[in-house]
């Protein structure tokens, strides 16, 4: 009986909170480019909120989305406009922007009731294009392709002035998002999502209305993306359509895949991995690589990410999270015949 709730045991959250609290100080002690690292961590945190939601939709429910950069954009622009042009407080606009994005998620969910797989991928990708077009067209609010400057986050009279403040703001939401998502997947909702992915027949026989739960999945996933977008707008303080490129949607999928789908933690790990690679590792090799391959910077990034995704799908389909689980089993059993379980 005892171990049954282990997975939902939230003791590890305390550890995580401690880690999140300490990281800035560790970084400060370790490196001079501390500010840049914090900035990169902030981007990773924002993307984590989104990819956790993407895992619910694409990992758990099996509905491919190549349009999540579009949801991120809707969240970002909604919140920027609500706060700076409609005068709504930041705290309220976080909720409103998430809900607005959720409604768009529902709208994209409707075609998903009829199509799946590659066609759904293409449809959601088209959605991403349309969002960018519409943002440019709504010049009066969005400043079109010039981009939009956004105010700092303000909560309960406190203004988040720098990257350290933003860091704590963002990671508070990361932790909430992870807890919420884990709770969702371990509940009636999560079981319905997985049943839709693996066996529509079993789901229906169990009384699950496939359409209803697909829509709920799109709605929830878009809410996560909208929240991420709102945080993005106010902590980065400048948004333009370039921030929500179609390629970003594909990177989100890579993050979930590399981390390990259908685990939530995998999305977090994969996002941290890919963002670190993108902002910290790849730049180091850019010059070196471009000398003998004559590639543009953007091409190198795509090349490396494509390669990583390929390698993971072939050699480590359970992703980084799968590796971690195996390692844990390995160390638990360590001196006693670990090889047997290490497969």
């Amino acid at each position: 009986m005892k171990g049954r709730y282990e997975d939902e045991n939230l003791k590890w959250i305390a550890l995580l909170i401690l880690l999140v609290l300490l990281v800035p100080f560790l970084l400060q002690g370790m490196t001079y480019s501390y500010r840049y690292y914090l900035y990169v961590l902030n981007i990773a945190g924002i993307y984590m909120i989104l990819t956790v939601g993407l895992d619910l939709l694409s990992g758990y429910t099996g509905q491919v989305s190549l349009g999540h950069a579009g949801f991120l954009a809707i969240g970002a622009y909604s919140s920027a406009i609500l706060v700076d042009q409609a005068g709504i407080p930041f705290g309220l606009s976080l909720i409103l922007a998430s809900l607005i994005t959720g409604v768009f998620g529902l709208m994209i969910g409707f075609p998903a009731l009829r199509i799946s797989g590659m066609y759904l991928g293409l449809t959601t990708m088209g959605f991403g294009f349309i969002v960018r077009r519409i943002i440019i067209a709504l010049r009066d609010w969005t400043e079109g392709s010039a981009g939009l400057a956004v105010s700092k986050p303000q909560l309960f009279g406190f203004t988040f002035n720098n990257d350290l403040h933003n860091y704590y703001l963002i990671y508070t939401f990361v932790i909430l998002a992870v807890i919420l998502a884990r709770r969702i997947v371990k509940s009636k909702l999560g079981r319905a999502f997985q049943a839709i992915r693996d066996s529509g027949h079993a789901a229906q026989a169990a009384g699950i209305n496939l359409s209803k739960y697909k829509l709920i999945s799109f709605f929830i996933s878009a809410i996560f993306a909208g929240l991420a977008g709102a945080l993005f707008a106010h902590t980065m303080r400048f948004i333009s359509t370039d921030h929500f490129d179609i390629l970003l949607s594909i990177y989100f999928i890579i993050m979930v895949l590399v981390g390990g789908t259908s685990s939530i933690y995998g999305a977090v790990l994969g996002t941290l991995f890919i963002v670190s690679l993108d902002y910290l590792i790849v730049p180091q090799f850019k010059d070196w690589l471009s000398t003998f391959m004559s590639l543009e910077a953007g091409d190198i990034q795509s090349l490396i990410f494509g390669l990583i995704m390929f390698l993971f799908i072939i050699f480590q389909p359970t992703g980084l999270y799968g590796m971690w689980i195996k390692m844990r089993i390995y160390w638990k059993l360590f001196p006693f015949n670990p090889k047997k379980r290490f497969t």
């Binding site: 171990g3 049954r4 709730y5 939902e8 709770r183 509940s187 009636k188 909702l189 079981r191 319905a192 997985q194 049943a195 693996d198 066996s199 027949h201 079993a202 789901a203 229906q204 026989a205 169990a206 009384g207 699950i208 209305n209 496939l210 259908s262």
Partner: protein, 253 residues
């Protein structure tokens, strides 16, 4: 009262006659078996009751409501659940989670939220599933992931999933397929217990004739979508059409 009454249903698949004017009544509280050669329409019959296939003609009544008016996901609300011939399980959920999936309609959405904060609520939600697992002798499996479990275990998990919502009638499609004699005998015992201890009517499709003969109250023999014979096991054994068909089959083989 809670008899399942099928009246004159016919199903055609692009020229193939899957069910041809089938009428039968599954009495409440009985174990009723459908038998017949491969492709004789047994699974299609389940699919009709379950709403996956809409018959061209006919009616299906249960508790005085016409099941044909319902979508597949509404059938469980009428008190009917089922298992599948080919395993339809969720491989990356635990055995317990697979069983709880079957209780979807009885777990309130509000309870879901409560469950996030209250362990008591969580235990209440899980207790139905655990009871069903121990009823089927699977108590040790609750925490295991379904993927990689032996076929016989997966079959039982499906049955547990269909039973956990306490339906009035369960349709079981080939529970003993691929099982050895001893496993089949255990399955026969379980089927009897489902009716005797849980009070659930059983509609069974099974190729293992020993099992069918030993558990059934009534048997219906389908042949190319038509009802060839219907009656108690003894009547079926001596039914001239059935005997003819069996001998005919034997001569072919």
């Amino acid at each position: 009262m809670a008899d399942l009454v099928i009246q004159n249903i016919s199903v055609y698949f692009s020229g193939v006659v899957a069910l041809d004017d089938v009428s039968l009544t599954v009495p409440s509280g009985s174990i009723y078996s459908l038998v017949g050669a491969n492709g004789s329409g047994k699974t299609t019959f389940f699919n009709c009751v379950n709403g996956f296939v809409k018959p061209r003609r006919g009616n299906i009544f249960f508790n005085d409501s016409n099941l044909l008016d319902r979508s597949p996901h509404e059938i469980i609300h009428a008190g009917i659940s089922r298992t599948f011939q080919n395993l339809e399980n969720i491989p990356y959920m635990t055995v317990l989670e697979n069983v709880l999936l079957g209780n979807h309609t009885r777990i309130s959405a509000g309870g879901t939220f409560q469950r996030w904060v209250s362990r008591k609520q969580r235990e209440k939600e899980e207790s139905d599933g655990l009871k069903m697992l121990s009823f089927l002798g699977l108590a040790n499996y609750e925490q295991k992931y379904l993927t990689g479990q032996p076929y016989a275990i997966q079959k039982l998990v499906e049955i547990a999933r269909a039973l956990v919502c306490r339906p009035q009638l369960i349709m079981i499609d080939e529970p003993a397929a691929g099982m050895n004699d001893q496993e089949s005998m255990e399955m026969a015992k379980i089927i009897t217990e489902i009716r005797d201890e849980l009070g659930i009517t059983v509609l069974l499709v099974e190729h293992d004739m020993n099992l069918v003969m030993s558990v059934s109250d009534r048997i219906c023999v389908l042949d190319s979508g038509r009802v060839l014979a219907e009656g108690t096991p003894d009547e079926i054994k001596t039914h001239p059409e059935v005997v003819k068909a069996f001998i005919g089959e034997g001569a072919d083989a």
